[in-house]
Amino acid sequence: MYYSEYLKTLKQFSRRVFGKINRNITTSFPVMNYGTYLRTISIDYHIEQFLLKCSKLNEKAQIINLGCGSDLRMINLLNYNYKDQIAKFIDVDFDESIKLKDEIISNNESLKISLDASISTNKYHIAPSDLKDAGKTISMLTNVTNAKLPTLIITECVLCYMSQQDSQNLIDSIMNLYESGTWISYDPIGGGDDDMSDQKNKSHGNDRFGIIMQSNLRESRNLEMPTLMTFNSKEKYSQRWNKSVIDNKVDIKINDMWEILNHNVSTAEKKRLRDLQFLDELEELKVMQTHYILLSAEWKHAIK
């Protein structure tokens, strides 16, 4: 519902972007809809787990959505079940993305109403920052958040666009700033690592998904994913959170989306999905979803 409102107002700002998104929504293949579903519910699940934990400990929490784009997650979070648990929700993105999002929200009646209270109390904050500049990002966050509160960081298809150095800087400085927190990251992984993969799963020997993805994206969208083949396995992807500067061990969990579909989605829910949209084959879904991962890294600074 919020997204259709968002789109409606977006149309006033850019018919071209509206047309693109609208076409994508209406013509998506079932395999894409399944992937979008998996990505959405699994991130939501981790956010809820984090808030649930904070609520049990009776702690207020902060959520920072880095590279938020047009994500409207904050509306439900700030209005429903866990609204009292959230001390602050910060949306961060490039200046122009933030400006557009801000304008759309203030020009759309229903979006505005649903966020008015949170904006006036400074609970919801929308802030421009170039994540490549970790220093500036940290000083912005230091100004608007409390480093002592448990903090949830979301990077949903964000780190994959950054250089190895920039993404490592960002991870290190944020984990250094907040005393405790959880990092949720959703990204593609390139695959194709014969020695790293499960030997029984022979199909990995032929895995060229990442290389083809890089070249498809470069040619059709002029997009670069510099670390897709560097952090091309679950193991390599998660190493970045282990490198962190903190003394205490970081608790890292990482699954690919195919594992999540098979182990975390109930039989009843799978049947509901099948009834919603018939999926003609599973092989292509498997190829795609084994190349997307969800990481959750929980950290706590040692008491000094």
Binding site: M32, R39, F209, N216, S220, D280, E281, E284, V287
Partner: protein, 309 residues
């Protein structure tokens, strides 16, 4: 007609538009030819078995190139000519033209995508709307789909089908008694032949696809024994290595769409059956699309593939 078919083949190879009237006449002629074929066509060795094509015309042309070409070689196509790729119409028309031009050298079997319902979701219908502005050509092609065979038998020894076995079918003769000239139904023997998959299961099991069944080594062994055949050759499932033998060589999956959906990164294969039934696989890779330049076959657009971004 002979000349006209040759002309259409040339146009397709050059990436030219084929007029609605030409498609109509090709489809009518194909129906006249296909209506006389049995549900399970008899084919002699040597023959080359090909799996899913899915509208990847450039790769289909590579397939003919790598496997001898229809002028010299007999072929069985196991279905799924259309959907997913951007040249479903051209791929299907090329195969129909070859069928009209060399009726004894090419056998076309129906896949689960050769139906009205599936092509409306997975690309063929949209492709026709894009190319013609109306759905007439889609309707003509769907009429042809209804006449395609359900299987083939090579030298009384190798059974070919798109998907797999059915709990309602014990003998190949039972397939011969199906009234195949209809839109593929949602259940029953005809549906299962188009939809089922082999798997490590003890007995008939529900398919995660929601149509057809999963069947195991037990069902395959029983079928081979009962029908006195040594191999079931089928397609229907993406195999990254192009082909996969299962159940001590009693069943093989052949997949002929390299870099499926321009995204999966797999290789493709065809299987040649020699006179002594020896199996020879040929592996081939996808054609690299390039803007404008073409690839000596036809100019092609760079495909824009979807990812989660």
């Amino acid at each position: 007609m002979g000349l006209e078919v040759e002309e259409v083949i040339e146009s397709i190879k050059q990436g030219k538009h084929v007029s609605e009237a030409t498609v109509y006449s090709l489809c009518l002629k194909s129906q006249e030819l296909l209506i006389n074929e049995a549900n399970v066509t008899r084919v002699d060795t040597p023959v080359t078995i090909c799996g899913d094509i899915h509208g990847q015309l450039h790769d289909l042309l590579t397939l003919f190139d790598k496997s001898g070409g229809v002028e010299k070689t007999r072929y069985i196509f196991l279905g799924d000519f259309v959907d997913r790729g951007f040249y479903s119409l051209e791929s299907f028309l090329l195969l129909l033209c070859y069928k009209l031009r060399y009726p004894d050298r090419i056998t076309l079997i129906r896949g689960n995508h050769e139906t009205r319902q599936i092509t409306k979701v997975y690309g063929f219908y949209d492709e026709i709307m894009r190319k013609y502005g109306n759905c007439n050509v889609w309707r003509y092609c769907c009429e042809v789909f209804d006449y395609l065979s359900l299987g083939a038998i090579i030298n009384d020894s190798i059974f070919c089908v798109h998907g797999g076995l059915s709990p309602e079918i014990n003998t190949i003769d039972e397939i011969r008694s199906i009234d195949r000239k209809q839109e593929a139904p949602h259940e029953g023997a005809m549906c299962d032949l188009l939809w089922s998959d082999p798997d490590d299961v003890d007995t008939w099991s529900l398919s995660p696809r929601g149509a057809g069944f999963l069947f195991g080594k037990g069902e395959v062994d029983k079928f081979l024994m009962k029908n006195n055949v040594e191999l079931i050759a089928r397609a229907h499932q993406l195999v990254m290595e192009g082909y996969k033998e299962m159940f001590d060589g009693g069943l093989v999956t052949v997949w002929s769409a390299p870099n499926y959906c321009y995204r999966c990164g797999n290789v493709a294969a065809v299987l040649r059956i020699e006179d002594d039934l020896e199996r020879n696989y040929t592996i081939f890779e996808a054609v690299q699309p390039q803007d404008g330049v073409g690839n000596t076959i036809i100019p092609t657009k760079k495909p824009q593939m979807d990812y989660f971004l």
